[in-house]
């Protein structure tokens, strides 16, 4: 029983890590640019295909696959911004609508290149089982947890301790006033897109070997990311981190009870409930508002 519970717990942490990496990008977009990007999960999907291509066709070692995917997404996102979002700055619902189009375009482009068949991404760690007490977990899953911790620490240091991070927080808090202080918002927006790309690229490269890669895998993840962001509070980095693990654990334990089909419904009901009762999320602070 204990083994079962702890395996559910570890599984929840792993899923939560993935949710967090994806949701951090979404919450940064909202916190800094005030946009809803419904194509974020599809960028994850493109990243997963990058990992698939790098691993299967280029035969790169796994660590190189991770780096290539992160770099690829970090380059892809600013380009997408330039093509898709740049002209719609300041519009409330424009970027949201456009991101729906972007999500359709990315899905069908990837389907055109790689077909709709599910693909597997190779990884040397997939079959390495590690024993923790009585539970054995694939090393691939376990890799996710320390990597995520490192990334979160790095993001935290970046936002709190560097000059650019200060600029990001300044624009999140007061775009106009920060402009008076000599911060170029477009530069900061670029930084946010690169950051979101790096985070989602890491998520894609580490999770892709465990999932089957399909062109439509992104939609579900977008929904999950928004559940996290709503529970954590829109634009709130700390809230997203907490909420991602909560959602991961809920998902894992609900599946453990044999209700896997209902996991999404429960999480979505949570989203709607939060929106009705506490739209500011668990932690009612936006990025940059707290010192």
């Amino acid at each position: 029983m204990l083994a079962f519970l702890s395996s559910l717990f570890i599984n929840g942490l792993v899923t939560g890590s993935m949710f967090m990496l994806v949701a951090l990008g979404v919450t940064l977009f909202y916190g800094v640019l005030r946009i809803i990007n419904l194509a974020h999960g599809d960028v994850f999907m493109v990243g997963a295909y990058m990992a698939f291509y790098a691993g299967t066709y280029l035969h790169l070692p796994y660590w190189a696959v991770v780096i290539v995917t992160m770099m690829g997404c970090a380059v892809l996102y600013p380009i997408l911004d330039l093509l898709v979002f740049r002209r719609l700055r300041g519009s409330e619902l424009g970027p949201l609508i456009t991101s729906v189009g972007l999500s359709m375009a990315l899905e069908s482009l990837v389907q055109g290149i790689f077909t709709a068949n599910a693909q597997a991404v190779p990884s040397p760690y997939l079959n390495n089982l590690v024993n923790i007490g009585t539970v054995s977990v694939p090393l691939q899953s376990l890799l996710m947890i320390p990597l995520t911790l490192v990334v979160v620490a790095a993001l935290y240091v970046f936002l709190r301790r560097t000059r650019t991070g200060l600029m990001v927080r300044a624009v999140a808090m007061e775009p106009r006033v920060s402009q008076l202080m000599g911060v170029r918002p477009e530069y900061v927006y670029g930084v946010v897109f690169v950051l979101a790309g790096l985070l989602v690229g890491l998520a894609a490269a580490t999770m892709a070997p465990e999932l089957y890669v399909t062109p439509t895998m992104g939609v579900e993840l977008t929904v999950d990311a928004y559940i996290v962001v709503v529970i954590g509070g829109f634009g709130n980095v700390e809230g997203a981190i907490v909420a991602a693990f909560i959602l991961g654990l809920i998902n894992s334990f609900v599946s453990g009870l044999g209700l896997a089909d209902w996991a999404t419904t429960i999480a979505l009901a949570l989203l709607v409930g939060f929106m009705m009762v506490r739209p500011s999320g668990l932690v009612a602070e936006r990025l940059g508002v707290r010192q």
Binding site: Y30, I36, L38, L83, V84, R87, L88, S91, E92, L93, G94, L96, I97, T98, V100, G101, L102, S103, M104, A105, L106, E107, S108, L109, Q111, G112, V219, V223, Y226, I227, V230, F234, D261, W262, T264, T265, L268, A269, L271, V272, M275, M276, P279
Partner: protein, 333 residues
Amino acid sequence: MNGSRRFLASFLPAAALCAVVALAALLFADAYLAQVAFLTGITVILVLGESFAVGNMGQLLMCQAGFYGIGAYVSALLEMHGMPPYLAPAVGITCGAVSGLVVGLAATRIRGHYLAIVTLAIGVIVEELLNNLQGITNGPIGLVGVPTFFGPLNAGNQADYIVVVWGAVIVVLGCLALLRESRFGWFLRAIRDSEAAAESIGLRIGTYQVATVTVAAAVAGLAGALYTNYAGLLVPDLFSYGLSAQILATAVLGGINSFGGAVVSSLVFNGVPQMAQVTAFYQYLIFGVVLIVMMQFAPRGLSQIGVYAVSLARRRLLGWGAGQPNAATVRRP
């Protein structure tokens, strides 16, 4: 212009276009084209509801597919337990309206980005419920053997199907145009343009939002009931988030709050690709790319391009209105 002329101005062009399309389908369609004409009619109804809500309320609804699904499943289930098919449209409208009322009441104080996310979530919940409530909906396998209006579509009854669906389109158009030009519609647009100003003259914003969501949902429910009675087969995949996204995209491409635009864009982006038997893959790709490009250069969609073309032609060909540039073509300073 007074109210009734404004009503005719927004209703007649779109209705005439629908009548022409229906007539063309009646005269020239073979079995395949009749099917396309029917499905396009369903799309037009869905898009009209969305376009009305988004255009007048200024809020995005991302769960039209959910309301559509509720209308379809409830009328299918009732028919399988003996309800005659001709009651289905009323059932569809009622179910859609009730579910819209529930969603609207739940989201009374939610607006903007948040409302888009909440309705997206509700749409996905409906799809999940259709999949998971297996005792009622038969899960992913779906409902088979639902009664239809006139039996399977064939050369003998295709005209009936086309008349029913395009007749419904015109009725929906009339109702929405009436609503838009009524006091209700003007209040809605007042709220859209300035919530604070609207509140200061005593409008209850939440009530109007609930009413608009209810109307959009009722329209989608009607579409669901009509679809059921044509298809005879329902699976949850038909009512996915992807469909809501497509409905939103079509409404935006047509030009928000332009009925004519909604009809044209449904024809261009849904009807024509099906007619040309373009695979779903290319249809999706075209949709995505066109939506992105349109949002960059003509965010008010086909209707904006239409208005621009008309004013350009007038000036070039007839020398009219040279001194009064059209509002749609002028950038605010």
